[in-house]
Symmetry: C2
């Protein structure tokens, strides 16, 4: 028996402001970027790439933060732990996440000349794919004291961003959060984030998997983590390690397992895909929201696909319309309690 | 005889980053805002309003800067003079205006704890109207030395933002620019910017009008400056003072005079008006670009309406597609030289 939860989902991840610009494939090739991937860059390279990019739009982002916003937009309660500097981009991040209804109480690092708030340069190509070059700045240091026992214990689900795995100055905080969640009888969910990241930080992922109840990722990430030759095989391997596994397959929807056989759930239809930034983050939001409401795996996947369909239909990584209303319109709203 | 010009348009104005958020009319009323207007606010009020606003998007703006970007998008050459701080928003402003192809060489004020880069909180209501609360910060101080004789002399048109009129720490720079332009035999253009601003800073406008060759504004602004009872009368009064006058009338298009009788030119059709931010700025861009290409007043107004139609069809104050290509598609491109 656990105490009633105050929060549905507490997410922990990199607090990032996205810098979104359109460019063609020539830009990707010219600058040696890996299309569709996330790559960490240092400040100099971030400035070089930024200088080469066209006019941009700044919007708050960060994978797990986007998921927390999605949970709130669905009518759930969400919190976020992540580090910004008390600079202009940090103030933008804090404003936006709170304005979206997410509980955010991590203190910003003071303006003392240290690394600034993180930014991710996101190149959106005409095929709606996004390619990210992220300068982590202060986001890569989450002090262990930013993770508070009672906060973690209040949340039904602790959600970890895969990009945190292997980040030296954040892992102690992550491990502490996982430890608190388990002691409080809460669930731990993890997104694999990026297949190249999984390959580069394999050991960190392998170390945390035994504590993960809910595993989310796309097919490339599932293959990278499992070492399997096929997606079916990857799902089988991962499902043996985590109670719930959901693997997204782009326009083919997702496959979900929760102890039984894998079930394929189709993607939610979209008129036009404009920008895939945030697709996985919002799938996770819908899926986790469903879980916290006691919904079955197929409904969770449907909620995930619905939330993802909203975010890919416009530029930017966070929902622009109420996901709760969209879920109601799609007949996926929470059933009335009798 | 004047020397050949290197620049089509040199614009001078407030260097501002826009913070755009959707809100309904309730927000406008609750916070005592004047719908459709621009109001200057101090830092405290800017923070209070920002705290009350929902998640926002940051994009570079500033009226005259938007016009300079529009001229560049039409295939013209444009420069901009305006002040930012060397902070994150200032770096965003500089990046975006240069990435748009505008010559910008005003040095940012150093990071010394002084007023930050300006931001304008722009509330976009469901009727696509924008209401602006602007904290000018360092933008309200344009040092006189930022205006360089040779730069002004290089531009066919010096374009002044009306919002500069009456700003004490910028007027000496503005007057210097006007003086340089006249000595070099260049044209001076002025936008009236905002009817409340015209009313509040009437004397400054009246003082500069004798030096203005091209006057741009909407019907409310024309009424405010002229003191006339009807728009027709206002146009007549203003046309007696400035060689070229163009008055925009929203969806009714614009009226233009250049020494002859006023001519009404219809608006360019738009599928859906999303956000009117930048409409007047882009009208000015098209109009001035046409003038620098020796086009007649009707063609100038058509180019203005075309540029405005692009910017009101999406969120944000600057064009997202090439205005040059739009002008070609609309049969308004520069005639081939024989």
């Amino acid at each position: 028996m656990t105490a009633p939860s105050e929060l549905d989902v507490l997410a922990i991840g990199h607090a990032i402001v996205d810098v979104l610009a359109h460019a063609d494939d020539g830009f990707i090739h010219e600058h040696g970027l890996r299309k569709g991937a996330m790559e960490l860059v240092d400040r100099d390279r971030a400035e070089l790439l930024y200088g080469a990019l066209g006019p941009a739009v700044e919007v708050s982002g960060g994978s797990a933060a986007n998921t927390a916003v999605g949970v709130a937009s669905l009518g759930g309660t969400a919190g976020f732990i992540g580090k910004v500097r008390d600079d202009q981009l940090g103030q933008i991040f804090i404003h936006d996440i709170r304005a979206a209804g997410v509980r955010f109480s991590t203190a910003p690092a003071p303006l003392d000349g240290g690394a600034p708030t993180a930014r991710s340069l996101i190149v959106v190509t005409p095929d709606a794919q996004r390619t990210m070059s992220t300068y982590l700045g202060v986001a890569s240091t989450i002090p262990i004291d930013d993770v508070v026992d009672t906060e973690v214990a209040k949340a039904q689900v602790l959600y970890l961003e895969g990009y945190l795995m292997g980040i030296p100055d954040s892992m102690p905080a992550v491990n502490r959060a996982v430890d608190f969640a388990h002691r409080a009888g809460r669930h731990v969910a993890l997104t694999l984030s990026d297949s190249l990241w999984v390959e580069g930080q394999r050991q960190s992922f392998v170390d945390v998997i035994p504590f993960v109840d809910v595993l989310l990722g796309n097919e490339h990430e599932a293959l990278a983590l499992s070492g399997a030759g096929t997606v079916d095989e990857a799902i089988e391997i991962l499902a043996a390690q985590c109670r719930v596994v959901a693997v997204t397959r782009g326009s083919h929807g997702s496959v979900v397992v929760d102890g039984n056989r894998p079930v394929a759930v189709p993607a939610h239809p979209v008129d036009a895909v404009i920008d895939t930034t945030g697709a996985g983050d919002l799938y996770a939001a819908g899926f986790l929201f469903g879980l916290t409401r006691g919904r079955g795996p197929v409904d969770c996947a449907r909620l995930g696909s619905l939330a993802a369909s909203e975010v890919i239909s416009h530029l930017g990584p966070r929902p622009e319309t109420s996901l709760q209303e969209l879920a109601e319109a799609a007949g996926l709203a929470e059933p009335a309690r009798s």
